[in-house]
């Protein structure tokens, strides 16, 4: 982050070429997700793979399009870890029940 700081003269960090590269990656990952949608996978595995790929896309958008990579580290540390913590808290409350339900169904 600090090596970019020397280049950053305020705001407009990132060239058109960089934005285009990120965009092509986003479209490519989307294409791969659509391909994956037609594979006959178990729903649980499918959902895990799709969410993992979407997290990569989300990280690209947040870092480059939303500029967070070039902001002060303190901003990213204030925003991202608490969000992840809160999502984990939601997960903890929902998923034990859902897995139990799955086991009951398969028996």
């Amino acid at each position: 982050m600090s090596e970019h700081g020397s280049e950053a003269t305020g705001h407009s960090v990132g060239s058109t070429k960089l934005f285009l590269t990120v965009w092509i990656w986003l479209v490519a990952i989307t294409g791969f997700e659509v391909f994956l949608g037609y594979e006959k996978l178990e729903p649980k595995l499918m959902l895990t793979l799709l969410v993992a790929l979407s997290l990569v896309k989300a990280a690209l958008i947040v870092a480059y399009f939303m500029h967070l990579k070039y902001e002060k580290l303190s901003l990213a540390l204030t925003l991202i870890p608490p969000t992840i913590f809160c999502i984990c808290m939601i997960l903890i409350f929902f998923f034990p029940d859902s897995w139990r339900l799955l086991q009951i169904r398969t028996q």
């Binding site: 407009s12 949608g37 799709l50 969410v51 399009f65």
Partner: protein, 210 residues
């Protein structure tokens, strides 16, 4: 004497105010905090959806390759493209190129509008096939509730974003808003794009008709 020494120490510390710990303006910080809270709203909805989706072996798979998957893939690319024009618009605004920034902002709004139109035709199509927010032909009303609930909330965000961008483009064009304001509207727009990056695979690609 001791007291004044402490006062001096407090006054020079970052906690005494007058410094910007995040080095961003307050509007930008405000938008980021809104985005965090909205992230949690969508996370809760998508997690509940995942829960009912995985625990229901008879979940409907209504999305045929045409029109649903082709259309939703085009919608995804359109939304991604509008994010690209947004980021170029923000870059132009920071270079003080007002007319170029305005054109990019309006192009972004146009992308959003195309998304709304495509998604509406997709909804109407599903309605005709019998998928409604309260019932489905397979008798799984949860599908309708989660599908229309989540895509509906996202559509509300896109519609709001299109209005926001048009207001921003016009206001920036006549000097009412600054380049920093354009950047804040960009944050919102990228967030709307980011949410769709989860909605599209989790809802559409998980229920393709095989």
């Amino acid at each position: 004497m001791h007291e004044t020494k402490t006062d001096v120490a407090v006054a020079s510390s970052p906690w005494s105010g007058g410094t910007a710990p995040f080095a961003v303006n307050s509007k930008k910080l405000g938008m980021w905090l809104f985005i965090v809270s909205d992230t949690l709203t969508f996370s809760a909805m998508l997690l509940v959806y995942s829960w009912v989706r995985l625990s229901n072996p008879d979940w409907p798979r209504p999305f045929e390759i045409y029109p649903a998957i082709v259309k939703s893939t085009i919608m995804t690319v359109v939304l991604l493209f509008s994010s690209l024009t947004m980021v170029l618009g923000v870059a132009a605004a920071h270079k003080n190129d007002r007319s170029k920034a305005m054109r990019y902002l309006l192009l972004t709004a146009l992308g959003g509008l195309a998304f709304v139109v495509l998604h509406t035709t997709e909804w109407i199509n599903l309605f005709h096939e019998g998928y409604k927010p309260w019932s489905t032909p397979e008798g799984v009303p949860l599908f309708g509730a989660t599908f229309f609930g989540i895509t509906g909330l996202h559509m509300l965000h896109v519609t709001t974003g299109v209005i926001y961008l048009i207001v921003m483009a016009l206001g920036y064009g006549n000097g009412k808003f600054t380049a920093d304001d354009v950047e804040v509207s960009g944050l919102y727009w990228h967030f709307v794009d980011l949410v769709w990056m989860f909605v599209f695979p989790m809802i559409y690609l998980m229920s393709i008709k095989l």
